[in-house]
Symmetry: C2
Subunit: 426 residues, 2 copies
């Protein structure tokens, strides 16, 4: 649909705040110039002449936001799940990511990834590529074709990884600048570069300084990993003895949200000081519950983050996570929060459906601007869900139908998807 104004009719559910769903049964969701004009129980008379798509008894929710996903790892989702983080990187990740030097392989792999993202309920994502500039540009071309709105990062790594995938410091900086120039030149509508130092163990101080210069020059956001696993955290202490805590090792270079939007994945072991610094700097947290289980990391104190009023979204973290399906990630977030309450700290209550839904929409959406809600002025990202596959004998209210989808929905249940008012071809 390219009409400046169009209307979706259905059961509209979204979050304004973290504690409750906003519900409009058989209501009208109005898009004007790519933004939400409003949600109406009765269509205002003045809008009467505009096209209405009636989705009957379907649910209409904001598009989901994946704050952390590794595109090249999609090929081995669900595989090699018997290692902790650092071994897992060595055995699974680096050998697979090395293959993306070959553009033919990259195209085959990235096309599968892009197709799956297109068919999912995800409308926005922060994506890691590999160190390879040409393959990263190819991925951005493919993501642009999907119609999703994404940040994509060429990864930087100049230490502590196998030679076959390690960059020289200056090479890493130069390639990053070249990559940025290339993709700015392409004038994508929906695809933007994001600085992507893999994590502190992979990046020398010199490289971090170079990246800061690049960030200032191009005003780019940044994504990385933080406090995921105890061995990793110990390693960062050794590598950066001058750092007060893991996050401080980014902050010393000005790469921890002070100047530009920054999203850090995991934060399983963030201590008081790290949490305070993240708050101060407005760092976004990408909570990746399935990955934190699969790589035996632990469970992030998400309730604490929410109580502190921090920015928290959800990440699939494929292939630490096995699936791009963010409904599953929401369920994992609730489930692991319950185990954390039971086994680790019963002062932090388990997460509720309303809270994980907020995180997967408006919470993560804020990284992209006014995204993830149907409040007026928000960008028009919407997913139409047909839950009739999940049969039930009793009547269910709309909130229950949405809660059920968190546990059970997959791409089969998506009838339509819109990003910034443009329909995505499913």
């Amino acid at each position: 649909m390219h009409e400046p104004v169009f209307i979706l009719k259905g059961n509209i559910i979204y979050s304004k705040n973290i504690t409750e769903f906003e519900v409009c049964e058989h209501g009208y969701l109005v898009c004007r110039d790519g933004k939400v004009e409003g949600v109406y129980q009765t269509l205002p008379f003045r809008l009467g002449g505009n096209p209405v798509r009636d989705f009957g008894d379907c649910l209409i929710i904001p598009g989901l936001v994946d704050l952390h996903v590794h595109a090249p790892q999609y090929s081995y989702r669900g595989l090699g799940m018997d290692m902790e983080l650092l071994d897992w990187l060595e055995v699974n990740t680096f050998p697979e990511e090395a293959k993306f030097e070959e553009l033919d392989y990259a195209e085959k792999a990235y096309r599968i990834f892009a197709d799956s993202m297109r068919k999912s309920a995800t409308t926005r994502a922060c994506i890691f590529a590999t160190v390879h500039r040409p393959a990263t540009i190819l991925l951005m071309d493919l993501m642009e074709e999907t119609g999703l709105d994404t940040f994509v990062g060429k990864v930087n790594m100049d230490r502590n990884c196998p030679e076959y995938i390690q960059e020289e410091t200056q090479e890493s900086a130069d390639e990053t600048v070249e990559w940025i120039k290339d993709v700015l030149h392409k004038k994508y509508a929906n695809t933007r570069p994001i600085l992507t130092p893999r994590f502190i163990p992979s990046c020398t101080d010199d490289l971090m300084e170079e990246l800061k210069k690049i960030q200032i020059r191009y005003s780019l956001p940044l994504q990385s990993h933080l406090s995921e696993n105890p061995s990793e955290i110990e390693w960062v202490k050794e590598l950066c003895p001058w750092s007060e805590f893991y996050g401080d090792a980014y902050d010393r270079f000005g790469l921890f949200g002070a100047d530009c939007p920054t999203v850090m994945a995991h934060c399983v072991y963030s201590d008081d000081r790290e949490i305070a610094r993240m708050k101060e700097n407005g760092v976004f947290i990408a909570h990746c519950p399935e990955s934190n289980m699969n790589v035996s990391s632990g469970i992030a104190p998400v309730r604490r983050f929410l109580e502190e009023g921090m920015h928290v979204g959800i990440g699939s973290d494929v292939a630490g996570g096995s699936t791009e399906n963010l409904f599953r990630a929401m369920a994992h977030a609730v489930q692991s929060s319950k185990l954390r309450w039971r086994l680790q700290d019963n002062t932090l209550e388990a997460l509720k459906a309303e809270e994980v839904f907020y995180m997967a929409t408006k919470g993560g959406g804020e990284f992209f601007g006014q995204v993830g809600s149907f409040e007026p002025g928000y960008e028009f990202d919407a997913v139409v869900l047909d839950d009739s596959r999940l049969r039930h004998p009793q009547p269910l209210d709309l909130k229950s139908r949405l809660e059920r989808m968190i546990y059970l929905a997959d791409e089969r249940d998506i009838r339509a998807k819109f990003v910034k008012g443009q329909e995505v071809r499913l």
Copy 2:
């Protein structure tokens, strides 16, 4: 297929023991009179004249065994996931189960359950119904139609539940006998009764004595719940001050595996004495990892059970679990074992794909006899999986393809299913 001998061709994977997969690439799985005759890389000359169904590059695995599932709870799978066990029973379970007094409602609900079980990779199940005799028989009729091989139990409850669903002690015993007579009279091929006292808090000592008499008279197996949640365990101590531990409260009545096969769901908090008694009595454990997360119970020490050589299978425990999909249950078992290792007890190593697959096939299958493997003489339960939906750019060996399915497979991927040599209509 009703031929006495037929052959499936494909990539055959199954477990003989718990540590490794048996693999036969592009091999032949031979069924004779409902049992496995053998797995062959090359078809023996003497079998040459028999029909072969070639499933190309599909995987062929033993049917999955669900050792614990509540049929009436299927209607609210994925709902009301914000309570611990005892509140959850009060708020969600009992009101829904009460509806099964109405046969019309029961038929609507149980038909949905039976259809889903039929389409899943499950070939065997131990199923809880409700207290209602007519609805339980209806469920058994429907399960018989599916072609799956199941134990189904009319639930017994004569205390500590709302009046609208509570039985009188003698009534409960009498109805159980009537139910057994009714269903034995029906001469089902694949559907058998199993004694089902809900759990100790729901059953008076008098009722347990009656059930023991019934068990002796009809030689019936038994299913129930054990040591799921700390509050429940405390309650059992109060209710049965004479018991040494929770399991002992069953054993005092002879209802803990000493005479008849017995399966106990959960065993999250089984202590040394309980574990020793279960071993002694050969009690089967139905490990229900998703339910143990969703109802905030905790994580069962499955590694310990395996080291002790106990009988351990997997249960979906719908609706504590949200899905009948046992692939998902296997993934949850691996995932929660990792969190247990990280947060609770690092002396118990996390579970591996081989181990959870064993549990979901041969481990639970033993409750049904020689079931859950493709070793000669085993009953011919097989599932043909087409994993081509899950695209990948690199070559994958068969074990990797199976590991991937544990995380990602659902009913879409099932091409064919056989129970005791009979094909199930999907």
